[in-house]
Amino acid sequence: MEIYCERVRDLLNPKSKGALRVREHPIMGPYVEDLSKLAVTSYQDIRDLMDSGNKARTVAATNMNETSSRSHAVFTIVFTQRRRDQLTGLDTEKVCVCVSVQCVDTLSVLQEGANINKSLTTLGKVISALAENQTSKRKKSEFIPYRDSVLTWILKENLGGNSRTAMIAALSPADINYEETLSTLRYADRAKQIRCNAVINEDPNARLIRELKEEVNRLRDLLLSQGLSRLTLTSQHPVFKHKPLMCVCVCETEKIIAELNETWEEKLRKTESIRMERESILAEMGVSIKEDGGTVGVFSPKGTPHLVNLNEDPLMSECLLYYIKEGVTRVGQKDVDIKLSGQFIKEQHCVFYSYINHNGEVCVTLEPLEGAETYVNGKQISECVLLKQGNRVVMGKNHVFRFNHPEQARVERERSLDQQGEPADWNYAQRELLEEQGIDIKLEMQRRLQDVESQYRREKEEADLLLEQQRLVRVHITLQIEIEN
C-alpha cells in the first residue's frame, strides 16, 4: 500500500479506489481494512508483486528529481513456518512479519522534529510537542489529540516490542544540497532514537515497605530472643548465674513469640473450628453458607420440624422459618422462643413440645395456653394436639403457619407419589378457618367486611413490619437460639 497525503491506497489491487481505513481489532490487532493479501510461493513472486506495486505508486517529476516518490510505500511479508515435531507428531507454526517501508524524500514530508511548520494548520502539532515535552520526565498524564501519522501508526509496532528495525537514508552528494543533506542526517539520527514503549505506572510502595520493615524488625527480635533463650538454657551452667537477667530474657522471648503469634493465622485458627460448627448448625437451621462465607438464603432444614409463615402475598409466604427444637418452644409476646405480635397474641400464647417417641420418630405437639386463640386446620383447639406434616396453624387472627415435618414429609412422598392436593397456602388456610367456624364465607365476608377489614389491615401491617424486621435479623435470632440452647 502507499500512504499519500495521509490516505492509504492499495497498490496491488487496481480495482481498489479511494482511501482504505486503518483500524484496530482486539483480537486481530491493527489492520488496514480491505487491503489485498496475496499468497506467494517463491522469491520471484515477491519481486513481481513489489514491481507491480511500485509501478502503481505516485511518482512526480520536478526540476530537482525526475522521479521523486511522493508517498510512503509499505510492503508486508508474512512468513509462516510450519513444522511437524517428529516425536510428538504435533504441528507448530512460527509466523514472522517483515515490513518494508519506503519513505518519501525526506525533504517533502518527513520534516519533523526540530523543523518549523509553515502553515497554521499544523499549530496543533506544535502545541502537542510542547505538552509532550513537559511530561517526558513525569508519567504520561495528558492527552494529545494530534493523531499519529498513518506511517507512525504502522511503524509503532516495529519500533516497540520484539522487532528489529533498520533505516537507510539516501543523501545527495551535490554541494548545493549541503544544508538539506545535513538536516536529513540529523533527522535520521533522531529517528534512530525513537522507541515506542508503554510506560508502566506503579503505585507507590510506601505502605508495603513500612509493613515489611515492621515485620523484619519483629523477626529480628525473635531471632535475637531465640539466641538469648538458647543462651539462658545453656546458662544452667554454673558460670552464668545471673538469674534476674535470665528471667528478663525468658519473659521477653515469650512476649515476642506471643506477639508474633498474634497474627491472622492465629485468629483464624481460633475461629475456624467455631465456624465449622456454626456452619453446620446454621445449615440445619435453614441458613446456607456460600463458599466465600456469605449467606445465600432460606432453605428448609432436612431434619428439624418447623413452621413456615403463610401470607396473603405469595411472595412473602414461606419467608420465615421457626424451628421446633427438641424440648419446649414457647410462642407469645414475652419471654418466649418465637416472638409474635398483634392484638390477639397473648404474652404466653402456646407451647410446642418436641420429643422422640418409642418408635424413634420425632413428634411435635401443640398446646394452647388459656385464653389464647389457636387453630389447627381451621379448628380452634383447647388442648394438646399432635401436629402432622402440612397442618395449618393459626395463632390469634392473622399469624398463619404451615407445620412442616421433613421426616414425615419424606415418608409421605414415598407412599403416595401421585397424591397432589391443593397447596396449603394462605387462602386455603383462611377458607378452611372460616368454614370450620361454620360461617358461610360469602355472607360472613359481607357482614364482617367493615369491622374486620380495618382491624385486619392494621394488624397485617404490624405483622409485615415484623416480618421485614425479622428477615433482617433472622441470622441473629437463630444464633441467639443456638446460644440459648
Binding site: 489529540p145 544540497n177 538536516s183 529480628r220 491472622w264
Partner: protein, 631 residues
C-alpha cells in the same frame, strides 16, 4: 506615478495577477506526477516581471543604482527602524521602485522554496531583504519587511539553524510592534504594488493580511522557542496565535478547537488549571461552530458526509478526552498535595490548605483578570458558562473531588461513544484506564474503607474483561499495563479488606476468605505480567530491558509479599506459602547480584528482600517445629 497608466505597466500588472493565480490557485489542481507545473509557470512570469522592472529602473535612474546589491549587504540584520545609512525613503518614488523589485524577489524566493529548491530560494529572499533594507520602513514596505523575514525564518529553521531563524523572526516581531506604535494605519499588501490604479485592496483587507502575516510570525516564533526548549515562551506564543486567529477570524473551527484543547494539555502539565479550563471551554464552544453532525443515514448516502461525520465525532470525542485529563490531573495533583508518606489523606494538611485557600479567594479574582482570555463577544458568554460547570481549584475534600470526578466521568462516557473497542482498541483502552484512574484518585478522598474498596472494585470490573479479551501478540504493552494495574488494584482492595478486618473484634470468616481471594487475584495478575516478559520458550530473560526492570522486580517483590500474606490455618499450606514467598524474595536478590545495575533501581525493595531472605527461614522453621510437636 507616471508610468502607471502606460500599456506596459498594465501588462506587468496582468502578468503579476496571472502568476499569483497560477501559484495560489492553479497549482492545487496540478497532477500528482507533475505537482509543480503551475509553480514553474508562475516562476517564469515572475522572472519576466523582474526583467521589465529592471529595464524601467535603468531607463529612469540609470546613473544611481550601481552596485546597490553589495552596498548595504551588511545591514541585513540591523536594527529595524534605524534609518541611518538608508538610501531611500520608503514612500519616495525611488523607494517604491525598490520595493516593487523586492516584492518580485520575494515571490521568486517563495516559489523556489515551494518547489524544493531551497538554496536558490534563499538567494532570492536575501536579495529581497537587502533591497528593502535600503529604504526606511514605511506603510508601503512594512508588510514585505515582515513577510520576507518570516520566510527566511522558516527556511533556516528547516535546516536546524534555529538561532538564525530566531534572529529573522524576532526582527519581524519588533518591526510589527514598532510600526503599530508609530503608524498603525493599514499598510500596503504585497499585491498592492502590482494593480492598476483604483483596484487596490480595501483598508479592511489590508489590515487583515497584515495581521495574518504577523500571526504567522508569532506562530513561527512559537516553534523556534519550542526548539530552543524555551517552553514557557513557546506556550505564550501558541496562545497568542490562537487568540489572534479568533480575533481576526482566521480559523477553521474544528482545527482551532483541537488546538485549543491541546494547549489545555500543556497548561495541565504546568498545573495552570484556570488557563487549561479556559482553553477547554473555548474548544468545546468553538467546535460547535463546525456545524451539525451529519446523520448516520446521510453518511451512508455520500462519502463526503461520511467523512464529515467521522471527523466531527472524532474531534468532539478528542476534546472530551482532553477534559478527562483535566479532571484527572486536577484530582491527582490535589492528592499529591494532601497525601502523607504512605499515600493516605493527611487531615492536618487538609485543614491547612483549606485555610490557605480562604485567603487566596481574592487573589484568584485578580488572576482571573490577567488570565489570557479567548473569544469574541458572541462566544465569550458560552465559554464562561461552560467553565462554571467544573472547578479549576484543587479539590480538598471528598465533596469537591466528587464534583470533578463526575464531570470527568461524563466525558468518559462521551469519549467512549466514538472510541469503541472494535476499531479503536488503543484509544478505547486508554479511556478506560483514565476512568479507572479517576476512580482510584476519588477513592483517596473517600474515608469509608468499605466504599473505598467498592471504588476499586469498579476499576477491576472495567479493566478485567478487557485484559482477558485482548490479544497480547498485538497489544503486548497495553496488556502489561492492564495486568499491572489489575494486580495493584487487587492489592489495594486486599489492604483495605485487611484494614476493615483489623477494626473488627472477631475476625470474620467471610472476610478472611475474601481477603485470600483478593490476595491470590493480585498474585495472579503480577504473575501474568511476569510471564509476559518470558521468551516464547518460557524462559525468564537473564537481563531485563530498562523499562521493564523496575516493574518486573517490583512485581516479583509484591508477589513475595502476597504469598506470605495468605491466611491459612493449616500449617502445611502456611509452610508452602512461606516457601514460595522465600523463593520470590530470593529471585529479586539473585537477579540484583547478577545484574548490579538493577540495585539502584530497586534499592529499598532489594534491601528488604535481603532481610527477608535471611529472616523468613526462621519463621518457616518455627512452623515446622510446631508441626512436628503437634504430630
Amino acid at each position: 506615478m507616471a508610468d502607471n497608466q502606460s500599456a506596459e505597466w498594465t501588462a506587468v500588472c496582468e502578468k503579476f495577477r496571472l502568476a499569483h493565480e497560477l501559484s495560489e490557485i492553479e497549482s492545487k489542481k496540478d497532477p500528482e506526477n507533475n505537482p509543480f507545473r503551475s509553480k514553474y509557470k508562475a516562476r517564469d512570469l515572475f522572472k519576466e516581471i523582474h526583467c521589465s522592472l529592471k529595464k524601467n529602473q535603468i531607463e529612469e535612474e540609470g546613473e544611481v543604482d550601481n552596485g546597490a546589491d553589495s552596498e548595504s549587504s551588511q545591514t541585513g540584520d540591523g536594527e529595524p527602524g534605524n534609518d541611518f545609512g538608508k538610501a531611500y525613503a520608503g514612500d519616495s518614488p525611488a523607494g517604491l521602485r525598490v520595493a516593487r523589485l523586492a516584492v518580485v524577489q520575494y515571490h521568486l524566493g517563495v516559489n523556489h522554496i515551494e518547489t524544493e529548491e531551497l538554496s536558490a530560494g534563499e538567494e532570492h529572499l536575501m536579495t529581497c531583504m537587502k533591497l528593502i533594507d535600503k529604504c526606511t520602513t514605511t506603510r508601503e514596505n512594512v508588510s514585505l519587511f515582515i513577510q520576507a523575514r518570516n520566510q527566511l525564518g522558516i527556511l533556516w529553521a528547516g535546516r536546524d539553524e534555529i538561532e538564525k531563524a530566531q534572529g529573522f523572526l524576532e526582527i519581524a516581531e519588533t518591526m510589527y510592534l514598532l510600526y503599530m506604535k508609530e503608524d498603525g494605519q493599514p499598510p500596503l499588501d504585497l499585491q498592492d504594488f502590482f494593480v492598476p490604479q483604483g483596484e487596490e485592496l480595501s483598508q479592511q483587507e489590508k489590515t487583515r493580511r497584515f495581521e495574518m502575516a504577523y500571526t504567522h510570525t508569532l506562530y513561527y516564533l512559537a516553534q523556534v522557542y519550542k526548539n530552543l526548549q524555551q517552553y514557557e515562551r513557546a506556550g505564550q506564543y501558541c496562545h497568542s496565535t490562537l487568540q489572534r486567529q479568533l480575533e481576526y477570524k482566521q480559523f477553521v473551527p474544528l482545527e482551532w478547537a483541537i488546538n485549543a484543547a491541546t494547549l489545555s494539555q500543556y497548561y495541565i502539565t504546568k498545573t495552570r488549571y484556570m488557563e487549561a479550563r479556559h482553553c477547554l471551554a473555548a474548544a468545546s464552544v468553538i467546535a460547535t461552530l463546525a456545524g451539525e453532525i451529519p446523520s448516520e443515514a446521510a453518511a451512508k448516502e455520500s462519502e463526503a458526509e461520511f467523512e464529515k461525520r467521522e471527523e466531527l465525532l472524532q474531534k468532539r470525542a478528542e476534546i472530551a478526552r482532553c477534559w478527562i485529563k483535566y479532571c484527572l490531573n486536577l484530582l491527582q495533583d490535589a492528592k499529591k498535595l494532601l497525601e502523607d508518606n504512605v499515600g493516605e489523606l493527611d487531615s492536618d494538611r487538609q485543614e491547612e490548605l483549606k485555610r490557605a485557600r480562604r485567603n487566596e479567594e481574592e487573589e484568584k479574582e485578580k488572576g482571573r483578570k490577567s488570565a489570557i482570555l479567548f473569544g469574541s463577544s458572541d462566544t465569550f458568554d458560552s465559554i464562561c458558562s461552560l467553565e462554571e460547570k467544573v472547578s479549576s481549584m484543587l479539590p480538598l475534600d471528598f465533596e469537591e473531588a466528587r464534583g470533578i470526578f463526575l464531570v470527568g466521568q461524563g466525558y468518559v462516557a462521551q469519549a467512549k461513544e466514538y472510541f469503541e473497542m472494535d476499531g479503536h482498541v488503543t484509544d478505547h483502552i486508554e479511556i478506560l484506564q483514565d476512568h479507572s484512574a479517576l476512580f482510584k484518585v476519588l477513592a483517596f478522598f473517600e474515608e469509608d474503607l468499605e466504599r473505598r474498596c467498592k471504588m476499586h472494585k469498579r476499576r477491576v470490573d472495567m479493566l478485567e474483561p478487557v485484559c482477558k479479551d485482548l490479544n497480547a501478540q498485538y497489544y503486548l504493552l497495553i496488556c502489561r499495563q492492564l495486568q499491572f494495574e489489575l494486580a495493584e488494584t487487587y492489592y489495594e482492595m486486599m489492604d483495605l479488606k485487611l484494614a476493615v478486618a483489623d477494626k473488627q473484634d472477631q475476625p470474620d470468616v467471610h472476610t478472611i476468605k475474601k481477603f485470600n481471594l483478593l490476595c491470590s487475584s493480585s498474585t495472579k495478575y503480577y504473575q501474568m505480567f511476569l510471564d509476559s516478559v518470558r521468551s516464547p520458550e518460557g524462559k525468564f530473560p537473564e537481563k531485563l530491558e530498562d523499562d521493564l526492570l523496575r516493574p518486573a522486580l517490583v512485581a516479583k517483590f509484591r508477589v513475595a509479599r502476597l504469598q506470605s500474606k495468605l491466611i491459612s490455618s493449616n500449617p502445611a499450606s502456611q509452610l508452602e506459602n512461606l516457601s514460595l514467598s522465600l523463593e520470590s524474595y530470593k529471585f529479586v536478590v539473585q537477579y540484583c547480584e547478577e545484574n548490579p545495575e538493577a540495585k539502584d533501581v530497586v534499592e529499598t525493595e532489594l534491601e528488604l528482600s535481603v532481610e527477608m531472605v535471611s529472616l523468613l527461614p526462621l519463621k518457616i522453621n518455627r512452623i515446622k517445629s510446631t508441626m512436628a510437636s503437634s504430630n
